[in-house]
């Protein structure tokens, strides 16, 4: 069962204590953000954990926490501020570049230009078992609910090719009807085989801010109909940068003697994501923009954000391991 996280600043302190208490119709005001500078590390960590906690109410919730909090107007007001600031930050980070006018070509360019450090490449040849476990703990925040943030997008799409193709891929993510192949359950079994906890969010207190921000961006894109273009661009970039790293992780985990169950999870993604990237790029993003041309820029924002946030996570993890 999922416990509430340990607060990282004044806002998450109040939020966690509110969720831990009895449900009330009206709350007093939220505390001011930690510090005036939005880039202050304490404020960034506090905001990221607060938003992650608010989003989590829409997924599995927390043990003993009243489920009505998910739609409480005062919590939504805090979410409004945190998401607004996050979206603004992500949009500012994306460099202005020329577009070809063909969204698939532009997506492929963004993906090809990605030269970020790779955690999979490090673990393939050099990493230790402890580093592999550290990575699994960080990834567990997302992988234990893998595919779920993208499923929010399905009812936001009009009919046609994009919607049919998205469901086709999601069906595969959820095991194509076979519970034994459901991806987030495969990951849970891999965690257990490694002697790690597969409880949802068991390691959220270990999660670095960058990982929380990755999860927050994915959830925000999925939960806002307005950001459906970004959600699908993010999805396409994620799937397009998964197959080769998954193979490197399989090789690294073999080298380190990690259990077959955790290798099976990444092994599945070598082939699955080689398919998903093709469908996500052309049938999902291409068809979406054909139908809703105004979404092209958001599709690229989502893709760029996916790669940028992974670059930030990889840089932080390599630094933490004393590698970079």
């Amino acid at each position: 069962m999922a416990s509430l996280p340990t607060p990282r600043g004044p806002v998450s302190e109040v939020l966690v204590s509110v969720l831990d208490g009895n449900f009330v119709e009206q709350l007093t005001a939220w505390p001011e953000p930690a510090g005036d500078d939005p880039a202050d590390p304490v404020r960034v960590a506090d905001d990221a954990l607060s938003l992650w906690t608010l989003h989590e109410l829409a997924y599995r919730g927390f043990t003993g926490v009243d489920e009505r909090w998910e739609w409480h107007p005062d919590l939504l007001a805090l979410r409004w501020r945190l998401e607004g600031e996050l979206e603004q930050r992500l949009r500012k980070r994306m460099p202005a570049t020329d577009r070809t006018g063909d969204v698939v070509a532009d997506l492929l360019r963004i993906i090809a230009d990605d030269d970020a450090p790779s955690l999979a490449r490090h673990l393939q040849r050099h990493g230790s078992v402890e580093q592999a476990h550290d990575l699994l703990r960080q990834r567990s925040i997302y992988h234990l609910k893998e595919a779920d943030p993208t499923s929010w997008v399905i009812p936001r799409l009009e009919g046609g090719r994009a919607k049919a193709a998205l469901v086709e891929i999601q069906y595969d993510e959820y095991g194509a009807g076979d519970p034994a192949r459901l991806h987030h359950d495969l990951f849970a079994r891999g965690m257990e085989a490694c002697g790690l906890s597969s409880e949802p969010n068991a390691y959220v207190d270990d999660a670095i801010t960058e990982v929380l921000e990755q999860n927050n961006a994915t959830s925000m894109f999925g939960l806002h109909r307005r950001l459906r273009g970004a959600a699908l661009g993010h999805f396409a970039a994620f799937e397009s940068t998964s197959s080769l790293p998954s193979r490197q992780l399989v090789q690294g985990f073999e080298r380190l003697g990690l259990p077959v169950e955790v290798r099976a999870y990444y092994d599945e993604h070598v082939e699955a994501d080689a398919v998903h990237e093709q469908v996500a790029l052309r049938d999902i993003c291409g068809a979406l923009v054909e139908r809703e041309p105004d979404l092209a820029e958001d599709v690229l924002l989502g893709a760029w954000t996916c790669l940028d946030l992974e670059a930030r996570t990889a840089t932080a993890m390599l630094k933490r391991w004393g590698v970079a």
């Binding site: 086709e168 197959s243 080769l244 080689a274 398919v275 093709q278 469908v279």
Partner: protein, 71 residues
């Protein structure tokens, strides 16, 4: 919003530019050695670059081949 009058058609087999061949549905693929492989997912990607480590399925290696060619 209205949908298109004619439903969009979807191909069962798709050649991806500089990529694999997508195959939809439950089919058996015979590789160059004559070994048969049944698809296990709604859509499968069959390698076309010949460099995959998991023939007949695509493992993404073609991207390394394309990158090397463009350098």
């Amino acid at each position: 919003m209205t949908g298109p009058q004619q439903p969009e058609t979807r191909a069962d087999i798709v050649m991806c530019p500089d990529g694999p061949m997508l195959v939809r549905g439950d089919v058996v693929v015979e590789d160059a050695d004559g070994t048969q492989h049944r698809t296990t997912r709604p859509v499968s990607a069959v390698c076309r670059c010949g460099r995959t480590s998991r023939a007949p399925w695509c493992d993404g290696t073609h991207k390394l081949v394309t990158e090397a060619r463009e350098r």
